[in-house]
């Protein structure tokens, strides 16, 4: 069954027809072409599909698109504003917190949400906030350093 939903993605308004069973992840990637949000497990375990839902991180593979009606969604594509990278994006580059890059968009989303609700997190709080975002490459150390660095300088 098709449903019409109206929501914003990265600040832009959209009205779309979506099927009952379609996840937000699939709609973002397939209908809006926002492929920065990745498919890792479709089971809510890896965090590669993390997006912000009214500022809170959610696994977009576990949310139905119909539920997004009336909400504000943010993806990695919305992080840099006016041609300027977000401080977290800059810090990820400077700290070499990126290797294969597949977990990076979801990591950035979780980190952004953390700093919005807790601007001066401890290392433990950063690690707790990122525990739902798996990374097989980096060992997490540079990612944690990058987030703490942004917190220190903001």
């Amino acid at each position: 069954m098709l449903h019409e939903i109206t929501f914003t993605v990265n600040g832009d308004p959209y009205t779309l027809a979506v099927y009952s069973q379609q996840t937000l992840l699939k709609v973002l990637r397939e209908k809006l072409g926002l492929t920065g949000t990745k498919i890792g497990c479709e089971n809510g375990e890896c965090g590669a599909c993390t997006v912000l839902w009214d500022g809170e991180p959610v696994n977009s593979c576990l949310v139905l698109a119909v539920e997004a009606n009336g909400h504000a969604i943010e993806t990695v594509e919305g992080m840099s504003v006016g041609g300027e990278l977000h401080p977290l994006q800059k810090a990820f580059i400077e700290h070499n917190a990126v290797q294969c890059g597949f977990c990076t968009p979801g990591m950035l989303m979780s980190a952004k949400s953390l700093l919005a609700r807790n601007p001066q997190p401890t290392e433990l709080e950063v690690r707790e906030a990122l525990v739902g975002n798996l990374c097989r490459c980096t060992g997490y150390v540079r990612i944690v350093d990058a987030v703490l660095d942004v917190a220190k300088n903001q």
Binding site: M79, V98, E128, Y140
Partner: protein, 782 residues
């Protein structure tokens, strides 16, 4: 171009791929758009570990509206494989593991393809399975590949048709029987490791299109685009010129995306619906059972030393559980045979390394290629020997580890490395011998260390090539066929090209995303930690050729000897006349003669190649030969950990690593490999694939198969870089990408022994296992 980094080799310049990856702009295969003509495929998997296929009925699936084709083994008569050509693309007469593809369907949507896959009915006759590699190697075991003698394999592999042994490598040196009586201490033990999975964040995905003209294109996240092209061309009878593999960024490889996995299945689906691209993406569950995994190992190892702690003899049998098909895996057993001692100089050795067919998922390349598996046992035995003779385990290793120029187990002379320096650095970083108190009552703290070696496990002639090409403003495009897996291959390629040409790093653009076999220069595979070394040599050669062409043009223009010219910071200079010539414009348009009476030069393009030409065969009965491998990289890890004795929970507090990389082209990228590898290695010690009695995987999800999270990883990861130059490495560099996780598990086991006084012979190191061992120890057991 405000920043100008001259002479970038050895400097921690920023990654060339980071910007795309933090903005979401980086495209992976699943992100590529194919429009409404795209069809979706779904594989039908065997539910049995070992069975004969008696019949397949595809009529119901084909009758479903929207289903375009169903493919089975009847459509794929040719066998495929990188080393051992031992499998059909779709099973024909027999299945050998749960998850093996027996059919594939193509439909207009993903949902339809999934529904149709369930409508394919297959009639099986179950056979007795065998899962344990040691049991599978025994004469009474059911034989998985009765036709093995018909298979094709390279001349350095020695299978035993009529058995399940797909490779048997023998190493014989000295006289072990005569040596045992001279030993003051001997440790003999059996070690077992389960299969584990790579768990890249990006699962396998492939899209293929078979055009009506006969041209075939495959889009796949691949460590081996050229090897995939070669295997597909051979197996399906396609000209290499018509088979094209396009591979953008890879979302984690770790060996799992080396060689060939589901890609051939997808190409065959595309052949059935010519003109339409067909996409198959593995679910996380399929990733666990239907793509490659690390082999299991049953190792029985005996090592002895004299009263002064000199290791005198080693006898070892390795049985790698290769899974239903051993293709790539035969070379893992071989590599583990010719490196069977680990990084030790041992005068008397009897080693037998086997890969064995088992009814489990396909065991294949994974970061370390046999070395993490064999070091698990070796590094624990070395600790136990040191303990027996009352010697510090670090000192025991300093004394016995292999050193430059020594004759190693195969008879080859050890190329330059400094393993003692690695031991010194890693132990110093951990505060070796100064154990800190545990953080709470009920917790116990321990230190442990382990050393390692690994050679690139390559065939004797894997080639690399590169092209460099200038633009009008003297920016340079570098073309390589090596893949960016996250390790930094593109960044070091840019650094090396800039360094060899004498231009700033910022002038270089890497033209390798995607790697495209139609446009990229040939690269054998991005495996074996060989890219910085081998591809690096080809980039250096290409840049040096371009440099010489520029110098020749300018020398003629100035009427000077090119020997007196150089390129510094992007400017041609003469040491003779002190003249200067900017590279801008001249690298494309050339230079005018006096009074514009003609021109010289033209667009500057350089090409380069590298292939090791010196690797020799090894004797079938003894494993002896003059040059068994290209080189070895070595390293040491030391670990500080704490165990909660009430729960068996292990907390890894610090991992300190030191590796001899020859030359760190980009030191910070080396450190990121060391850090990431330490956590990958740590995680691997707690991972395992568990099967039921029918061979069905019980934990095929990230819920039940846990990898290390940000909370599990140690907060302190220390890295040291040692630089003992490699003779044929670019600026002395050798690889380090795999080495960084090889010895982490035994280093943890040694630290656990230090903390608890308990030894663990089998992986994984689950909390339950540790808890039970502690209770047993309390009860007075061994």
């Amino acid at each position: 171009m405000t920043t100008q980094t001259n002479n970038p080799v050895g400097k921690s310049v920023p990654r060339v791929d980071a910007f795309d990856k933090v903005t979401g702009a980086a495209k992976y295969v699943d992100d590529m758009q194919f429009g409404p003509g795209l069809y979706y495929g779904k594989l039908v998997h065997s539910p049995y570990a070992h069975a004969l296929i008696k019949g397949i009925d595809v009529s119901q699936a084909l009758a479903l509206p929207g289903v375009k084709a169903v493919v089975t083994g009847a459509d794929t008569p040719g066998r495929i494989g990188l080393y051992m050509k031992d499998r059909y693309i779709y099973a024909r007469d027999r299945v050998r593991y749960v998850g093996e593809p027996v059919a594939g369907v193509v439909a207009t949507t993903e949902e339809l393809a999934e529904a149709a896959a369930k409508l394919v009915t297959v009639e099986y006759e179950e056979l007795e399975p065998v899962f344990d590699p040691y049991a599978a190697a025994q004469p009474e075991a059911p034989v998985l590949h009765p036709d093995m003698a018909e298979y094709k394999w390279p001349n350095f592999i020695f299978p035993e048709p009529g058995t399940n042994i797909s490779e048997h490598f023998k190493l014989r040196k000295g006289d072990v029987e005569a040596a045992w009586p001279q030993c003051a201490a001997i440790v003999e033990q059996t070690f077992r490791l389960p299969q584990i999975q790579h768990v890249p964040l990006e699962t396998h995905v492939a899209i293929a299109r078979w055009d009506q003209t006969g041209e075939v294109t495959l889009w796949s996240p691949s460590q081996s685009p050229f090897a995939q092209r070669d295997l597909l061309a051979q197996s399906l009878g396609i000209s290499h010129g018509d088979m094209r593999v396009i591979s953008p960024y890879v979302g984690g490889g770790f060996g799992g995306k080396a060689g060939i996995s589901i890609e051939a299945n997808v190409v065959v689906l595309a052949r059935a619906v010519k003109g339409h691209p067909v996409k198959v993406r593995m679910t996380r569950e399929e990733e666990f059972v239907c793509t490659n995994v690390r082999q299991s190992l049953h190792a029985h190892t005996k090592i002895g030393c004299d009263a002064q702690g000199k290791v005198l003899a080693m006898e070892t049998q390795y049985y790698f559980g290769g899974g239903g098909y051993n293709d790539y895996g035969v070379n893992i057993a071989r590599a583990s045979g010719y490196s069977c001692t680990g990084p030790y100089l041992i005068p008397n050795i009897k080693g037998d390394s086997h890969s064995v067919y088992t009814n489990t998922p396909i065991g294949s390349a994974m970061r370390g290629f046999g070395m993490p598996e064999i070091h698990w046992g070796i590094e624990q035995i070395m600790d136990r020997l040191a303990e027996k003779i009352g010697m510090d385990p670090a000192e025991f290793r300093r004394q016995n580890c292999v050193k430059t120029g020594e004759e190693i187990l195969t008879g080859m002379k050890m190329p330059p490395v400094d393993l003692v320096a690695c031991i010194d650095k890693a132990t110093a970083a951990i505060g070796w011998g100064q154990k800190k108190p545990a953080s709470a009552p009920g917790k116990k703290r321990g230190q442990g260390l382990a050393i390692m070696w690994k050679a690139p496990a390559i065939p004797p002639n894997p080639g690399s090539s590169a092209i460099v090409r200038f633009n009008e403003d003297a920016t340079l495009n570098v073309y390589v066929g090596g893949q960016e897996l996250g390790q930094g291959a593109f960044t070091v390629a840019a650094q090396m090209a800039a360094q060899a040409l004498g231009i700033p790093y910022e002038w270089v653009r890497v033209s390798a995303n995607p790697v495209d076999t139609k446009y990229s220069p040939y690269e054998w595979q991005t495996v074996a930690s060989r890219i910085t070394w081998a591809m690096g040599n080809s980039v250096k050669a290409a840049a040096e050729e371009a440099r010489q062409k520029i110098l020749d043009v300018v020398a003629e223009h100035w009427n000077e000897d090119p020997e007196n010219l150089d390129i510094k910071n992007g400017v041609v200079i003469s040491y003779q006349s002190e003249r200067e010539q900017s590279l801008k414009s001249m690298v494309v348009y050339g230079l005018p003669n006096d009074n514009y009476e003609g021109w010289q030069g033209g667009p500057i393009v350089g090409t380069g190649k590298f292939m090791p030409t010196y690797i020799t065969g090894l004797d079938k009965e003894t494993g002896q030969g003059t040059r068994s491998v290209a080189h070895y990289s070595v390293g040491c890890q030391a670990i500080d950990l704490e165990v909660d004795t009430a729960t068996g929970q292990v907390d890894i507090l610090k991992i300190a690593s030191a590796y001899d990389v020859g030359k760190a082209i980009n030191p910070d990228l080396v450190l990121t490999q060391i850090e990431g590898g330490a956590v990958h290695g740590m995680s691997s010690a707690f991972e395992g694939m568990f099967f039921d009695k029918q061979g069905r995987l019980r934990n095929p999800s990230l819920v039940d198969y846990k990898i290390a999270t940000a909370l599990d990883a140690p907060w302190e990861i220390h890295g040291d870089i040692i630089e003992t130059p490699l003779e044929d490495g670019p600026w002395g560099a050798r690889g380090v990408g795999e080495h960084v996780m090889v010895q982490t598990a035994p280093a943890i086991a040694n630290a656990l022994h230090d903390a608890l006084g308990v030894r663990f012979d089998d992986l994984p190191l689950s909390s339950e296992k540790i808890y039970l061992a502690l209770r047993e120890k309390e009860a007075g057991g061994e």
